[in-house]
């Protein structure tokens, strides 16, 4: 029996960027863990997830809202870019469609290239007094125009000021975009420099009238080869940031209308890494007070492909003169959660000896913070060095694993009356690494029943199966979650609550003892049995 309750703890993991929020989160988690479980279900809490509806849709009424200002800040990177779209809105005076609904929808339009790259989205509604997280819904491409995708948030009527009020609402749409840029040229020599190109909207795309707006594109490195539209067409470059606009009084977007396409060709000095597949297995053991995690990872350097062949001597010389080939992946530091220990790093032909592991003590108060955002002194750092340097276009598949103390580390807690709660990270976030396909399997102790769990964001598929391992008699219940297009934002916790009776605890020792005694007795009997023919 599996009851799935989603969309609860997402609220716990929001605003994790500020230290204050971190503290708040920790307190909240402690509160959660110390209270009876049922109390921690605040109903109707909003989530940050972009729920998807696949059917194509049509544009809303353009007169509902007015954008007073529109600022799109795009932060480009290797494989995971991010965008922050800030709009100041107020309901249009002409819109007077009285609906019974207590919510009023606001729509965003994104170009299809960008919409398909969205791996994570979050909307924040800010007014002068409050700050609220809204759920982002995706409606897919427009019926009339497949190049534009529609997203919406539902703004509660209560927070909408009257049309006459002077202070407009601020709506922020944060998105994380996987594989937004691509290498140009697509092949580069081993010691050459790598450039990426971004192509997208350089102007404003909104279904509502916009009074003024700008598009800012921030590059990771100040060396920018070219940008379009260029300086003569109104774009400005300062440092590593390109600003397109500002634009004033922009008409609402209608299907077929042209939005100026822009592009930025910039240098990237780090390897563009993506995990094509990440297969995680988490085993919960009450006997060992242990949570064992194992990640099978297929890693690929998605940067410009290597032109010609790899030359060891050139690589060695570059390393020697410390002008290491920037887009070659030689080492990768993975921040494991605090308290991780006994880490290993293997691949299909054995142990890889070139790795370093710096363990750190457990920190139950910071579980909800993704480990890549914790300071390095607080996390256990597993610095892996692949067997060979991973050049552009090369693959490397490997396995890493580690253990965490279940109780001491704060990952699991007894709720009394044989009920337990465990928190399992969906994945280990690594900064600027896109994870294309993630599958996480959580294996609970043998004999666990009444399993309920909740996921912090929408999954592609959720299933349960039986996992049979070490001397199990009837197998362990397990939950399999999978999701495509993940990034560092998806390292949040999955909470699983289950019942485990003492008899289930003792099932295995009793079974093993009984079988051993049986074997010994039958051996003793057989030895004393004379089969000789005399």
């Amino acid at each position: 029996m599996v009851v799935i309750r989603r969309s609860v703890t997402a609220a716990l993991s929001r605003h994790h960027s500020s230290p204050l929020a971190l503290l708040l989160n920790s307190l909240l988690l402690l509160l959660l863990l110390s209270l009876p479980f049922s109390l921690s279900y605040p109903d109707g809490e909003a989530t940050t997830t972009a729920t998807t509806t696949t059917s194509s849709s049509s544009l809303p009424d353009q007169d509902d809202w007015i954008n007073h200002s529109f600022l799109k800040q795009l932060e480009l990177s290797g494989s995971v870019s991010s965008s922050v779209l800030t709009v100041q809105i107020s309901p249009s005076s002409s819109s007077s469609s009285p609906t019974q609904d207590s919510f009023s929808p606001y729509y965003f339009t994104l170009p299809s290239t960008e919409a398909e790259a969205v791996s994570w989205a979050k909307a924040i509604l800010k007014s002068s007094s409050q700050r609220e997280v809204l759920q982002v819904e995706s409606h897919g491409p427009l019926k009339q125009d497949a190049s534009t995708h529609l997203f919406s948030v539902r703004i509660p009527k209560s927070s909408i000021p009257s049309a006459s009020a002077s202070s407009p609402l601020t709506l922020i749409l944060e998105t994380t975009l996987n594989h937004l840029s691509y290498p140009l040229p697509s092949t580069v020599k081993q010691n050459g420099e790598m450039f990426l190109q971004w192509t997208g909207d350089a102007a404003i795309r909104s279904p509502y009238r916009t009074e003024k707006g700008r598009v800012k594109v921030k590059c990771p490195h100040p060396k920018i080869l070219s940008f379009h539209p260029d300086a003569s067409q109104g774009a400005t470059k300062s440092g590593s940031t390109i600003t397109f606009g500002s634009y004033e009084d922009v008409a609402p977007y209608t299907p077929g209308s042209e939005v100026k396409t822009g592009s930025v060709h910039y240098q990237h000095v780090l390897p563009v890494i993506s995990m094509v597949e990440l297969d995680r297995l988490v085993e919960i053991s009450h006997w060992g007070d242990n949570m064992a995690t194992e990640d099978k990872i297929w890693l690929r350097n998605d940067g410009a492909k290597l032109k010609g062949h790899f030359s060891r001597i050139d690589h060695q010389m570059a390393t020697f003169y410390s002008k290491a080939n920037s887009h070659v992946l030689s080492t990768l530091a993975i921040h494991l959660p605090p308290g991780s220990k006994e880490a290993y790093f293997t691949d299909s032909i054995g142990n890889v000896s070139t790795s370093h592991f710096r363990p750190s003590p457990s920190a139950p108060y910071s579980l909800t913070v993704p480990s890549n955002l914790l300071p390095p002194s607080r996390v256990s750092v597993l610095e892996i060095q692949p067997r060979f340097p991973v050049l552009g276009g090369w693959n490397y598949t490997f396995t890493i694993g580690w253990n965490n103390r279940l109780g001491e580390g704060g990952w699991g807690k007894s709720l009394g009356s044989n009920e337990y709660l465990v928190a399992v990270p969906f994945l280990t976030p690594v900064t600027d690494v896109a994870m294309d396909q993630v599958r996480t399997k959580i294996v609970l102790p043998e004999g666990a029943t009444d399993i309920q769990f909740e996921v912090p964001f929408e999954m592609d598929s959720i299933s349960t199966e039986t996992h049979t391992t070490y001397l199990d008699t009837k197998g362990r219940p397990s939950i399999v979650l999978s999701k495509s297009q993940c990034s560092e934002k998806h390292g949040s916790l999955i909470y699983v609550r289950y019942t485990l009776t003492p008899s289930a605890h003792l099932r295995k020792p009793i079974a093993i003892t009984a079988i051993s005694i049986g074997l010994l007795l039958s051996a003793a009997l057989l030895l004393r049995f004379d089969v000789k023919i005399r």
Partner: protein
């Protein structure tokens, strides 16, 4: 004489006085009850055997602890790969497994050309463990199979030796075989080869044979046949059993020890064993069609004849008839032999294989089959190897054989023959040290246990006076009184030779049994000296075995270790680095050419097709690779193209000082290629005019132009800032100008340059040949040989123009 007789006889020493008083005495009295004694002894025996098992396993785990659970060396990688196929796809798939990636483009019917015993054993263990939900990885089953079976070997050796002498000798033999380096060398964790289980099967078959022979039991004969079948399925060395047991039977017949016990046990063993062995696909009809197996058949026939003669003799009293029968036997035997020779010449029975000939003529392999000679384990051992692998056992071994010779029961004859044969074979091939080790352990254990029994026996012999009295008494009884008393005075020690048997008529007058108080050791000092010395010897043996195992036999050879300046271990993992790169970043069907040594490793770790591998069944194919490696680029390119080679892999140890690299093996490649193309490849061309094998600037032209040389030293000088590089293996400078490659591109080189992988260049898109295309790139003049190429380049025209001027 008169003085001694006058002296009063001292009271005979009692055993109870020497065993001390108090609780020990009470335990002693409790033990002396036969029932308690038996239970305690059997309990102790079980404990000791379990402890020996533990010792045997733990002494083989150095490699796992020091490195990791990894498959060692070369051949085990094929076995491991085959086992993976078996564990994944099941037995039938394995049985019919055709491996298209090996021996490209020929392929290999791997299921039918391998001894399946090892893989099936691991497959069964793996499946059993999985059926009780122990999710062990198949690799760990493979890695730990050899240590686990070494424990079983210890037990089988215990049973074997026990049937030769007694429990004590058996336990000693088990201890010896458990830790003897001669056996450990082939059974450390990770050494997943046929020998890992074969030695257990060998000892088990021999033990069962002895048991069947002793009892004359068809049941045990059938059990022998069963284990013989297992052995045939597991290792090519089964031929040793196929010839040892008939030889034993033959010697027994010649010694006049034919008995119905021999007849029953041998007939049941041979009939069942031969039929069973023919079920192994790789063996097939060999037991009736090759010379190696004819001895067993001959002895089987001879036994039938002898049995028939014996039968007739027991019924027909006439002397003439006996003579006739004897003539009949000789005639049949002679005609059978003649038929064998005729069939061999007629081609129905294969003559001995080359490997077999090389056992008799040590120079044979080098002359006719260089592939066999090129393997280091097929060389004759240096004499310190015996001491290195067996330590003190080597000098206890003859003593043990001697002790067995004195008694010479039927089973002792077996050990004596085994000792002689195995000693010879071990002297011919290093590898066969393995078959020598068990018999050395058995013999040495018998010697040591005899020695200790003699010196630890609490009973003191009668003094000379008493014995003289005894002699007088016996003289009185015995009419032909010799003078053993004088003998006794000189020899303080009289070696015990088991229970006195009736056969040793000449020994009957001499005291051999401990029950006879005349034999034994006087005094505590001589006992203590010899016992302590023997214990020290045993202790040093343990130390030696541990030392040898740890230093010599526990390196996986896939992973190398060195020390950092601070003393910590530094792992050199170049092989796996390069193999894994091949696996991850080349097309799945990319063909890799390398010398055959690395074939199994490439197939196992990189999962890519190879041209040749360690299953050296096709000499011509290997010679082709040898030729491609040893000729110049122009001749090598057509070979590479014809075999669809995408990558060429070479080992180069010059940077690190890794001596097992391809330049050191290069002479064998040349020799093997020369064997097939004597006109094109000549070994002498690769030596300097002074006859030296050199790699620096004074190397011969053929050497410098060879593909192997060019691949090894390609861009080597760049490591030294463009100056002449220093080759640390050869201890000489490399070439002063780095060789240029026209047909290959460097694709990957491992961190320490041990593995270098080159990619064969694609055809030039403009249709030029690769040499002129390269020359054009480099801005050089074009070579003459391609002067009428259709796509003549600018340089060619310029050259012609210059010529015209």
């Amino acid at each position: 004489m008169s003085k001694r007789e006058a002296a009063p006889p001292p009271p005979p020493p009692s055993s109870s006085s020497s065993s001390g008083g108090g609780p020990i005495a009470s335990i002693g009295s409790w033990l002396s009850e036969p029932k308690n004694n038996r239970n305690v002894l059997s309990f102790l025996r079980t404990i000791i055997i379990i402890l020996l098992w533990g010792a045997a396993i733990s002494s083989r785990l150095f490699a796992v602890i020091r490195y990791e659970s990894v498959i060692h060396e070369f051949d085990p990688f094929f076995n491991y790969r085959a086992t993976r196929v078996l564990a994944k796809d099941g037995f039938y798939r394995f049985w019919n497994w055709f491996d298209p990636t090996a021996w490209y483009p020929l392929g290999r019917a791997a299921g039918g050309t391998a001894y399946p015993g090892l893989m099936v054993t691991s497959g069964i263990i793996h499946n059993f463990l999985h059926s009780i939900n122990i999710p062990i990885d198949i690799r760990n089953v493979c890695v730990l199979l050899a240590p686990a079976f070494s424990g079983l070997t210890a037990w089988a050796t215990y049973m074997f030796t026990k049937s030769m002498k007694d429990d004590a000798a058996g336990l000693l033999a088990a201890a010896f075989i458990g830790i003897a380096p001669g056996y450990i060398s082939r059974s450390v964790a990770g050494s997943y080869d046929n020998e890992a289980i074969a030695i257990f099967l060998l000892m088990m078959t021999f033990y069962l044979w002895i048991k069947a022979l002793k009892d004359g039991s068809a049941l045990w004969g059938a059990m022998t046949a069963l284990f013989y079948f297992y052995m045939v399925a597991a290792w090519g060395g089964y031929v040793f059993i196929t010839n040892m047991i008939p030889l034993h039977a033959l010697v027994l017949i010649l010694m006049g020890r034919f008995s119905t016990r021999l007849y029953v046990s041998y007939s049941s063993f041979y009939a069942l064993g031969t039929l069973a062995s023919m079920q192994v696909p790789f063996v097939g009809f060999q037991p009736v069609r090759t010379s190696e197996h004819m001895a067993a058949l001959g002895v089987f026939g001879l036994l039938q004849l002898v049995a028939f003669v014996e039968l007739v003799r027991s019924h027909v009293p006439s002397n003439q008839f006996k003579l006739l029968l004897r003539g009949f036997v000789v005639l049949i035997a002679a005609s059978a032999f003649a038929a064998l020779v005729a069939l061999t010449y007629g081609g129905y029975i294969a003559p001995w294989t080359g490997r077999f000939y090389s056992l008799w003529d040590t120079g044979y392999a080098k002359k006719y089959i260089p592939i066999i000679a090129s393997v280091s384990e097929h060389q004759p051992p240096a004499w310190p190897a015996f001491f290195f692998d067996l330590e003190m056992l080597v000098f206890l071994f003859p003593a043990g054989v001697f002790i067995l010779f004195r008694e010479l029961r039927d089973e002792h004859v077996f050990v004596v023959i085994y000792a002689v044969m195995a000693s010879y074979f071990a002297g011919v091939m290093v590898r066969l040290m393995l078959t020598l080790t068990p018999v050395v352990c058995v013999s040495a254990a018998i010697a040591v246990s005899t020695l200790l029994e003699t010196y630890l026996d609490p009973k003191e012999p009668l003094t000379a006076e008493q014995s003289a009295e005894d002699v007088v008494a016996s003289e009185a009884l015995d009419s032909n009184g010799a003078k053993p008393s004088t003998k006794l005075k000189k020899t303080k020690i009289i070696v015990h030779s088991g229970d006195s048997s009736d056969e040793e008529k000449e020994n009957a007058s001499e005291p051999v049994s401990f029950d006879n108080p005349k034999s034994g050791i006087f005094g505590l000092d001589s006992r203590a000296f010899v016992s302590i010395y023997t214990l020290l010897l045993l202790l040093v043996f343990v130390l030696h075995c541990t030392f040898v195992t740890s230093t010599a036999y526990s390196s996986p050879s896939v992973v190398l270790a060195s020390r950092n300046p601070d003393g910590s271990q530094h792992i050199i993992d170049d092989f796996r680095e390069a193999y894994y790169w091949l696996r991850e970043n080349t097309p799945v069907d990319a063909k890799v050419m390398s010398w055959w040594d690395y074939g199994y490793q490439i197939a196992g770790m990189s999962d890519r097709p190879t041209l040749v591998d360690n299953n050296t069944w096709n000499n011509t194919h290997i010679a082709t690779v040898g030729k491609a490696m040893s000729t110049n680029e122009e001749k090598a390119l057509p070979i590479l193209r014809k075999h669809d080679v995408d990558y060429v892999l070479v080992m180069f140890g010059g940077l690190l000082g890794y001596s097992g690299d391809d330049i050191n093996k290069f002479l064998w490649m040349i020799r093997i290629a020369q064997g097939v193309w004597p006109d094109e490849i000549k070994e002498a061309d690769y030596f300097t005019s002074q006859g030296q094998y050199k790699i620096d600037d004074s190397a011969s032209k053929a050497m410098k132009e060879s593909l192997m040389y060019k691949m090894s030293y390609h861009r080597f000088n760049d490591l030294f800032g463009g100056r002449q590089g220093m080759d640390r293996v050869r201890g000489t400078p490399g070439p002063s100008v780095s060789p240029k490659l026209d047909i290959l591109d460097e694709a990957f080189t491992s961190e320490n340059w041990i593995v270098r992988i080159y990619k064969v260049k694609k055809e030039d898109p403009l249709g030029r040949d690769l040499f002129s295309a390269n020359a054009f790139e480099a801005g050089k003049k074009r070579k003459r040989i391609v002067s009428n190429s259709p796509s003549s380049s600018g340089t060619g025209k310029a050259k012609k123009a210059r010529k015209a001027n």
